[in-house]
Amino acid sequence: MSVETLALPTILIRGRSVMALVVAPEWPLEEWLAALDQQMRRTAGLFGHRPVVAHLGAAPEGGAGPESVLDALDALAARDLRVIGVDGVDPARLAGTRWARLPTIAQGRETVLQGGPAAAARPQPPPPPSSLLVDRPVRSGQAIVFEHGDVTIIGPVASGAEVIAGGSIHVYGALRGRAIAGVMTGGEARIFCRKMEAELVAVDGLYRMAEHWGPDLHGRAVQIRRDQKTLLLSALI
C-alpha cells in the first residue's frame, strides 16, 4: 500500500430545524423578571426543556453598561431557561463574558405563541399554500402526497388510490379512492369532486367511509367540508 489510509468513519452533517422560544426581556429588568416569575409560577413547565433564544433588542444602550445585557442572560439562566442563542444585540457586548460563545440567531421567522405549553408545542403555521396539479388519472395503488397546499386532479382517482393534501383537494373526475385533505391547513380545507364514489374522505383528521353517506350522493358532484366536529357532504348544484 503506497498511501496510508485509515478507515475513518464518514462524517455526516445534516441540517435540523427546531422550535425555539424567543424571550425578549424588557427594562427595567427587575419588573420584567418579577412578571416572568409570576408567569412561570402560574404555568408550570412554561419553558420545559425547550431551547430559548434571548432577544435583547430592548437593552438600553451605553448608559446601563454591558452589565444590563449580562444581567438579563444570567437571570434567565438562574431560572433554568436553556438559552441557546441571542438576537438583537451586538456580539461585541458579550465579548469576554461567559456568554460570548452563544451564537447570534439572525435567521428564522418568529411566530407569536398564544396560551400555555400545549400551544407552544404546536408546529409553526405553514407558509401560504401553493398547489399541485396532476393532469392524468391517479391509478389504483398510487398515492399523491402533497403537504404544502392544494391538490388538483384532472382525471379520475381510482379505487385503491390515495390523495393526501395539506390543503384542499379538487378532483375533476370521479373520486373512487381515498381523499385526505387539510393535513396542514386543518379544518379550512375542503374536498370537491365531479363524481362521488369515494372509499374514504377525510378533512383535518375527521373521516367518513362510503357507508356513512347515503346512496343519494353516489355518482354526484359533491363538496366535503368540516363544520366543527362533523364532516358535511353536500351535492354541488
Partner: protein, 273 residues
Amino acid sequence: MSRVMVVTSGKGGVGKTTSSASLGAALAQAGQTVVVVDFDVGLRNLDLVMGAERRVVYDLVNVVQGDAKLPQALIRDKRIDTLSLLPASQTRDKDALTEEGVGRVIDDLREKFDWIVCDSPAGIDKGATLAMRFADLAVVVTNPEVSSVRDSDRIIGMLDSKTRRAERGEKLEKHLLLTRYDAARAARGDMMKVEDVLEILAIPLLGIIAESPDVLTASNVGCPITLHNPASAAARAYTEAARRLLGETIAITAPMERRGLMSRLFGRKAVVA
C-alpha cells in the same frame, strides 16, 4: 421496426396466456414474424397453450444467464413458420431473471422479429415488472368484474412509471383487451358494462373476447384459437384485435346474445358438465 408488446393484467386467470398465444398467432397469420416470450418463470403455461411442451430444451432463464444461445431456445411453431416461442423455465423462480439479461435477450429478439409478445405473469413483482420493462406497447387483459378492473388499473399505473419508456418520458401505448365477456350476464346486468370498464381504466379498447368454450378447447389441444377454429367468434375477435395493432381501423362490436332463454340455460349446463 420491431415492437415489444407486453400482455399483462395484474390479476391471474383473466386470459393473459391465451391472449398472448392468440394475438401472437394472429399477427403471424397476418404475415408478421412473431416471437411469444413466456415470462412466467416457475409456472410456465405458454408452451402448453401453444402445443410445444414436448419441444422445450432450453428456456428464457438459460438464455438470460448465458447458458444457451438464443436460437437454441427458440421453438418455431409447426403450423405457422413465422411464429416462435421462447419458453420459461419451470424449475427456476423469477429471481433467476435479471434486468440486464432480459434487456439483452429483448435486444437480440428485436433483430430477428417484427413482434416480441411478452406474456407477463400475474402479480406486480419482479416477473411482471421485468416483462413490462422494455415494452413499446401494452395490452392490458381485463375481465369485466371489479377485482380485475382494479388490478388492471394498478398495472396501468406501473406501466406509466416502471417501464423504461415511461422513465425516459416517452409514450407507452396501452390497449384494453376485455376477455371472458359474457353477453348473457351483461344483458342481465350482473356483469360490468363495457363502458363502465372503459370509464374507469381510461385507455383505448383493442377488442372484446366473448367467454366461449371454443377458447377452452383450443387451449386444451394446445393450439391458438385463431389457428384451431378461425371461424369462431373468439378467433375473429383476436384476429381483428391483431389487425388493429397493425394499424387498421375496424369498428369494435360487443358480442351479442343470440340464443333464446331455454337454449341458453341448457347450453350453460352442458358447458358446466
